[in-house]
Amino acid sequence: MMNAIASSDLRRRYGRTAAVDGLNLSVPLGSIYAFLGPNGAGKTTTIKMLLNLLRPTSGSSEVLGTPSQRLGPAEFTRIGYVSENQQMPEWMTLRQLIAFCRPLYPTWNDPLCHKLVSSFELPLDIPLRHLSRGMRMKAALLVALAYRPKLLVMDEPFTGLDALVRDEVISGMLEVTEQEQWTVFISSHDIDEVERLADWVGILDGGHMYLSESAAALQARFRRMEAVTVDPARLPARPPKSWLAPDVTPHRFTVVETEYVGGASEQRVADAIAGAEQIAAAEMTLREIFLALARTFRIRP
């Protein structure tokens, strides 16, 4: 088993609308996978089908080697799930919630649980309904982490959290990383939230994967190329296929090269743009890559 999550031609229709439209997803074991896409792209529908909370119209998926539709209590002791609209017994206090969850998970880890209670600064004896949104999210994450799941699935965990709480949530999540082959799958509509966290990136658009690649591979093939031109630059009639968003101002040429090869890509600029000088290639962050793709293909970031 190489993938923590795999799906094949997964579909879900609501009436005539396809919310998820032939999704082929592979999440490698041990990765922190950012599942990105605008609101309405189908992220939550996908996650619900993966975790057997929603039946697909067609297609199949597997989570930790078990077909999604056969996931049951035994499998859920190895999967943690935290969502934006987490359902929790609001009348319970955190102490009661912990006592309730603890016997359900053979791998429940008391020292880790105590550590998270104190690092999250959560009150143990106040009913959950009286806690803020951020505190409830931390409580949900706490009971999902304390049994050291092999796979943590988080659906838009940062929505509505202030930066401080978001940082606490990320630190708490990383608390479990000592484990070998620990996989995290985070959906988000905002690349900023996961930029330095993710080592795999998937972009969902219109119900199917637009892209799914390791961050290292993406950053190896994307470069922002710049050149200075003596005469006002003109774009070629047929720019190379690997170029995104070529742009000229009177004496400056910029383009996003999506298939960078050192030397060859610089030469390509020199060949295509008359009088190009000082051709330089700069590495791009995941955020810059995401924004360049979003602008070109009208994926709403």
């Binding site: 922190i32 940082d167 990320i170 630190s171 990383l174 608390e175 990383t177 000592e178 330095r196 966290l197 993710a198 080592d199 950053q219 200075v228 000082q278 330089a280 700069a282 590495e283 791009m284 962050t285 955020r287 810059e288």
Partner: protein, 138 residues
Amino acid sequence: MLPFDVKFKPGAPAYEQVVYAVKKAVITGALKPGDPFPSVRALSQELRINPNTVQKAVATLCEESLLRVRPGIGTVVAELGPASRADKAALLRDEVERLVVEARKLHLDSADIIEAVREHWARLASDQPAYDERYRVK
């Protein structure tokens, strides 16, 4: 708290920025030979970055002999060996190249860069706060 500071800037890869921050801490003495170096998990939590990114930075620093893994103890800041001047200068080749390229883009000449380097050198050596004397409120 970490014994060094990383302020992430967009552009450069995160692991390079961590490597740079550690090098700077070693050079300025904020990290001293023998000092324990934080674990991968502690660093990734503190900086909130992918543990693999931290692992890569630590591996690079070990390769460059700035850190050393001591079995049973953990990672510590290494004694800087008696590397030759040429070896040390070679470590900076990429940085110098980048500096020169950037300077040329900005149409600065070599005298401007040398002056800027001198200023920075003096600032670090005297441990002065990093702001220009001219802006000091009198």
